[in-house]
């Protein structure tokens, strides 16, 4: 595991719900499981999340993190875009794609271009008015923004911004991790962990599960996270695939759900 403070702290930052990438708006189908009364007990919840890990997070997202990491470390932009494209193709539910790409864009904006982008308020003015907006558009102020000093990250972030690549969260995550000293395995573990805490938190807000039950489930899933990451950390891009029919059906039914507090 990480022993150097900087990568260790980066891993904590990336897997912390404090990271403002909108993860709290995603339930990846769990809202629909609860809408349809398919989860009653903490035990059932634990089993379902285990299914997510074994069927989606491991064979799909971990493979994406690992291959994004490898291609980013090698400076291979084409390879990186291929990982993004593949993950888009194998993510079946439209809302799962939407949640992942919206969060990915946010992570890209926050981290990949954070060093170079002009921050809001840099003009010394807190409140922006209609007139400011009109002036900025007229002067094309954005054209002066520069990149992060990391060419591959900048090129990838720009491709996301121009809509040329979807910018899935696990892919951006792998790029960030590769360039900030985490190992590939640590990157996969951190991403899988943040997925689990994200959906457990969503479930706790939607259903009636106690904080101790949620923590027990999380503790029991830690070895599962390790297992699925170890199983898939060296998979090739072509192996990336998910098989979770019920979860995918839940994700699709959620689009027309009678109650929806979550984006997915």
């Amino acid at each position: 595991m990480a022993t150097e403070p900087a990568p260790f702290l980066t891993a904590l930052r990336l897997s912390d719900s404090f990271l403002p990438t909108g993860g709290y708006t995603s339930s990846y189908g769990l809202e629909q499981y609860l809408n349809e009364d398919r989860i009653e007990t903490a035990d059932e919840l634990g089993k379902i999340i285990r299914g997510y890990l074994e069927r989606i997070v491991g064979p799909c997202e971990t493979v994406a993190v690992a291959n994004a990491y490898e291609t980013a470390a090698a400076g291979d932009l084409e390879g990186l875009l291929a990982v993004d494209e593949r993950l888009h193709a194998v993510t079946m539910a439209a809302e799962f794609r939407e949640s992942s790409t919206k969060a990915g864009r946010q992570l890209s904006e926050l981290v990949l271009v954070e060093d170079g982008r002009r921050r809001v308020g840099d003009d010394g003015k807190h409140r922006h008015t209609v007139e400011d907006g009109r002036r900025r558009r007229a002067s094309e102020a954005d054209a002066s923004e520069s990149g992060s000093g990391r060419p591959l990250e900048t090129a990838y972030a720009e491709a996301i911004e121009r809509g040329e690549t979807p910018g899935h969260y696990p892919v951006v995550f792998g790029v960030v991790a590769a360039q900030r000293g985490l190992s590939k395995r640590e990157a996969c573990l951190a991403q899988a962990y943040s997925f689990v805490t994200g959906v457990l938190g969503a479930t706790q807000r939607l259903g009636r599960f106690s904080h101790t039950d949620i923590q027990s489930i999380l503790a029991a899933l830690l070895p599962v996270i390790t297992d699925v990451c170890d199983r898939h950390v060296d998979d090739e891009i072509a192996a990336m695939a998910s098989f979770a029919p019920l979860t995918e059906i839940m994700g699709m039914r959620h689009e027309r759900a009678g109650r929806r507090l979550f984006m997915s």
Partner: protein, 206 residues
């Protein structure tokens, strides 16, 4: 073009205080003054709700400038700690409407502690209702004290809920420390012109 290129007005406040009623007054008034306006409502529960919202602005703004953002049962997070999904929705507005001037972001019902992230709202209004209790202002919630403009709505209901408007006004003056507030009755349209004047002065011509 992106969210940094438009003026953004946040509207927060407790559930049922009259945020949506206020938005329904403000949007046509701003459109009438030749501003291109977008509206985002947080925590719209179903697509049906979103459609109802779009219908109410059908004659004033294009359908694709009305959006709903789900905040995962965390209404405060969506406007304060992590406004990313609201900012993404504004970015989508600006992609298809490069001349957009102003976006109104209505929060999904808060307690009195809710405030807007300054990157999400250049100017924020907090709406309370006299029917929530005469003592709301003197609780000094951050929403009440920090808002750029405080709206005390449903003044018409005061006699029915034993609320003394004089007490509310005195307390509000104290906790606002000289910052502006307006009494409104959104149902009758009373006070709306005052609200618009503040917005025009602070956000549109500042």
């Amino acid at each position: 073009m992106g969210y940094r290129d438009v003026a953004k007005i946040g509207i927060g406040g407790p559930v049922g205080s009259g945020k949506t009623a206020l938005v329904r007054h403000l949007v046509p008034a701003l459109v009438e003054r030749d501003y291109e306006v977008g509206v985002i409502a947080n925590d719209i529960m179903t697509q049906e709700d979103a459609d109802v919202f779009r219908e109410s602005f059908a004659d004033t703004i294009p359908e694709d400038l009305v959006d709903g953002v789900e905040t995962g049962a965390c209404p405060h997070t969506g406007i304060r700690e992590d406004p990313s999904m609201n900012l993404a929705a504004i970015d989508e507005f600006t992609e298809s409407h490069p001349d957009l001037d102003v976006v109104i972001v209505e929060s999904g019902g808060d307690n009195l502690a809710a405030t807007f992230n300054p990157e999400l709202a250049d100017y924020f209004l907090f709406v309370i209702s006299v029917a929530e209790g005469e003592d709301i202002p003197r609780k000094r919630g951050p929403g009440v004290t920090q808002a750029d403009l405080l709206i005390v709505n449903k003044t018409d209901l005061a006699p029915y809920v034993d609320a003394d408007l004089g007490v509310i006004e005195r307390d509000t003056e104290t906790v606002r420390g000289g910052d502006p507030f307006v009494f409104t009755d959104c149902k009758a349209g009373t006070g709306i012109e005052d609200v618009l004047e503040h917005i025009e002065h602070e956000v549109l011509f500042a």
